[in-house]
Amino acid sequence: MTSPLLEVRDLVVEFPTRRGTLRALDKVSFDIAPGEVLGVVGESGAGKSMTGAAIIGLLEPPGRVAGGSILLRGERIDNLPPREMRRIRGKRIGAIFQDPLTTLNPLYTVGRQLTETMQTHLDIDAAEARRRAVGWLEAVGIPAAAERVDAYPHQFSGGMRQRVVIALALCAEPEMVVADEPTTALDVSIQAQVIALLKRLTREKGTSVMLITHDMGVIAETADRVAVMYAGRVAEIGPVRSVVKAASHPYSAGLMASIPPLSHRVEHLPQIDGAMPRLTAIPQGCAYNPRCPHVFDRCKVERPELLPANETRAACWLFDSHAPRERAHV
Amino acid sequence: MGALARFWGSDLFWSFRTTPTAIISAIVALVCIVGAVAAPVLAPYNPFDLASLNLMDAFNPPALLEEGSWAHPFGTDDQGRDVLSAIMYGARVSLLVGVSATAFALLLGVLVGLTAGYAGGAADAVLMRIADIQLTFPSILVALLVDGVARAALPRELHDQIAVYVVIVAIGISEWPKFARTVRGSALVERNKEYVLAARVIGVSPPRIMLTHVLPNVLGPLLVLATLNLGLAILSEATLSFLGVGVPPTQPSLGTLIRIGNDFLFSGEWWIAIFPGLALVAMVLSVNLLGDWLRDALNPRLR
């Protein structure tokens, strides 16, 4: 087994507020292998975007990393001074956000933004940077790239802008990309184009991707492995097919079942009753216990770690081999 | 849970408790307001009681100076009036004019702003152009103009009687466009929100939608603007009175006191002008700082 590119170990992110400190991420752990696409799914507020922000060192204050570590090729990057973190961001970790306008500077041409990024991080001259900028725009499917390189962001459509952002994230040839809801703001037909593009480019370059989205369809198509997050914790992590088709954790299973299928009509969609708890009211033990159909006493007291469960790892006491219970099939 | 308890636990009150500027401003403002409102009870003398005035007491220096006495902590003026008492009574007039003028501007601004923002189209264009035109004149000029017209149009005795109201209307008219613009801007945003559409679907009338749905949601920015504007209105009144076109000398405001004191500023009796001036600064500054704090506290992006 190759050593992982990125290791996240027991990551804790806290927000001090007037009503006490809120724990937005609570001991989140996962790895990303070189060239791997890890999907991170969960409902809004589950902490998936926060995990991405912590990795690229862009947590919004007053949020802060309060525990655990993030390692890139074995080196800690969670405690770097802002200057060094800025060098890693862009050069070694690229970022793609939901809204391309937050990434692109409206005052500069896309060409200038690409060349500046490349010249900051790569040892190339201006002419070479410009040649490559045109090449990147071609690679992300911008028609007439040689002319469009001197256009400003507002002269592109939403889908085209997101293509430019992808070029910008990849142009310094980073080892991994954090893509936070990269297609959510786009229409379905454009979404498919952008996902296909991201998939092709990262595979060609061997770039790892952390793909954060609430769209299970996008994950199913794109990711190698999936982490399902719930209330700031990883509920389950495993190969994409296993999580989608045969999730072990009752929450992931419920989540997958509640997705309306395109292929047929169901009279009553399976639903998870209730809602994810707010950060101010995370229940003791397993955070999912009040909604879980398989809950038993231990779940209400003791928090489960990620345990081997069928083909995945799930944070659920149903899979504790040391204290076997009736193995409820979920 | 009572309204008071809810306020006590609210984010707004928490922000207040943790902002020293806000607390100090509130205390200063409170002292000013109590001193002004309760002047007849708290003031050591009644400066308008001619019988109690004694010219022998004129030009007594403040207590801090050697010749001064604590009988008149801030000294006395050319008529022998106690300066502290005059300030308290004067602040009363200033506050009355400031609050009334702001309330007048607020009412007019809300009415125009809501109409313009909700109705849109031609009504919006006409009302906002009027506001734009008025904003190109300095507000003090507008106030002078209104006052001048009132002076020319009204008989002299009548004008003296209602001079305070003329000042209130003059300042109010010069300030309404700011309120109208704020309300219109917020109303434009609110009227496209889905809760307004929901009310339109069931056929709630536009005036009712404006009052019950839109207005409660623009109160926040309005409150901030009104607080900041109160300071401005007090200053405008002081300016008008200083220029001699404000409140009549029989009811001197802080501005009037400063004007009277101005004559003696360089002849050694500086306290007659300086203490009313300081009172004005304390009042306006505390109100403005409170307004600034309120604006920041209510702005979700800054929290």
Partner: protein, 342 residues
């Protein structure tokens, strides 16, 4: 046909918006007025007790149709009919207006943040004088809250105390409070998380069964539409390009755009599969392509498609489907060949 009168019918319904720049700028730039044809001649009918859905990408005009259907917009041309009566006329009567309601997309913007939940739900009850007296009103509000899965005590709370899904339930309770028969639902679940989306979709289906509601359902999500619809209209640039019973549409989509849309949706069953997404982007509705507006992106486009606007006609092979496509009409879409092969 001796059918019942449709609850709602659109006849060549259009809504145009003037998006010109101000007169002075227009004069300086020497350009004419610009019109956005948000909805351009749309026709459909919804029989009582059924769900008609409109799907399409952003800017296709589906939300404008929703607003036309409850009278928030006046039609620029064509007609909207409520039980055979002109909608504008019908809305003048309180008794008719009560019968139509709307559910919105954004559960954060659709409830007045300054109002208590009981007042929000009670607004239509008061406006239509449905319950007399405070006690009767409270009782009705409590019953509505329970009907949508909340508790009567929730009435005294404010919207910000609820989650997105709970707010959408409050929104539904408000819509139901005037005992309506026709509900226009504009993307009611697209702002919600999937597990909550399932709750709301189930609730809406239960309510339809219990109360005999008729829905006009607007969504961009084909999978959701499949779960709730009896009939589906696919919109592209202000027009319906295909309209069919839900089962027919999803098993045998006919219009090249419908097929492209379905192809574009990532499905859970497709893990790791490569797809060929449709190329190009939706053109500006201010200056749409001539003929069939889909022609620049269509693999089947020919000269006729670029010149002549196709009419919505019964499709060869699937007569229940109405489709606006020259290729289907001429049999150029290869549908009959595939069917023969199958």
């Amino acid at each position: 046909m001796s059918e019942t009168v449709p609850i709602f019918e659109a006849r060549e319904l259009s809504r145009h918006f003037d998006v010109s720049r101000p007169a002075l700028q227009r004069l300086l730039a020497r350009e004419g007025r610009r019109t956005l044809r948000a909805v351009d001649g749309v026709s459909f009918a919804i029989p009582p007790g059924t769900t008609m859905s409109l799907v399409g990408e952003s800017g296709c005009g589906k939300s404008t149709v929703a607003r036309l259907a409850v009278g928030l917009y006046e039609p620029s041309a064509g007609q909207a009919l409520f039980e055979g009566q002109d909608l504008g006329e019908a809305r003048k009567s309180v008794a008719q207006r009560r019968r139509m309601q709307m559910i919105f997309q954004d559960p954060y913007a659709s409830l007045n943040p300054r109002w208590r939940v009981a007042d929000i739900i009670g607004e239509p009850i008061r406006a239509f004088g449905i319950a007399n007296g405070g006690a009767a009103l409270r009782e009705k509000v409590g019953a509505l809250l329970q009907q949508v899965g909340l508790s009567a005590a929730d009435g005294s709370r404010f919207p910000h105390e609820f989650s997105g899904g709970q707010r959408q339930r409050i929104s539904i309770a408000r819509a139901l409070s005037s005992n309506p028969e026709f509900l226009v639902c504009d993307e009611p679940t697209s702002a919600l998380d999937v597990s909550v989306q399932a709750q709301i979709l189930n609730l809406m289906k239960d309510l339809q069964r219990k109360l005999g509601l008729t829905y006009l359902f607007i969504s961009h999500n084909l999978a959701v539409v499949r779960q709730v619809s009896d009939r589906v209209g696919v919109m592209y640039l202000g027009r319906i390009v295909e309209s069919a019973p839900a089962e027919t549409l999803f098993t045998t989509p006919r219009h090249p755009y419908t097929r492209a849309l379905m192809e574009a949706i990532p499905d859970l069953d497709m893990a790791g599969k490569e797809r060929q997404p449709v190329g190009g982007e939706v053109p500006s509705p201010i200056n749409p392509p001539s003929g069939c507006t889909f022609n620049p992106r269509c693999p089947l486009a020919n000269g006729r498609c670029r010149a002549e606007r196709p009419a919505l006609l019964a499709a060869r092979g699937t007569p229940e489907t109405l489709v606006a496509c020259h290729a289907v009409e001429e049999g150029r879409d290869g549908f009959e060949g595939q069917r023969a092969a199958a």
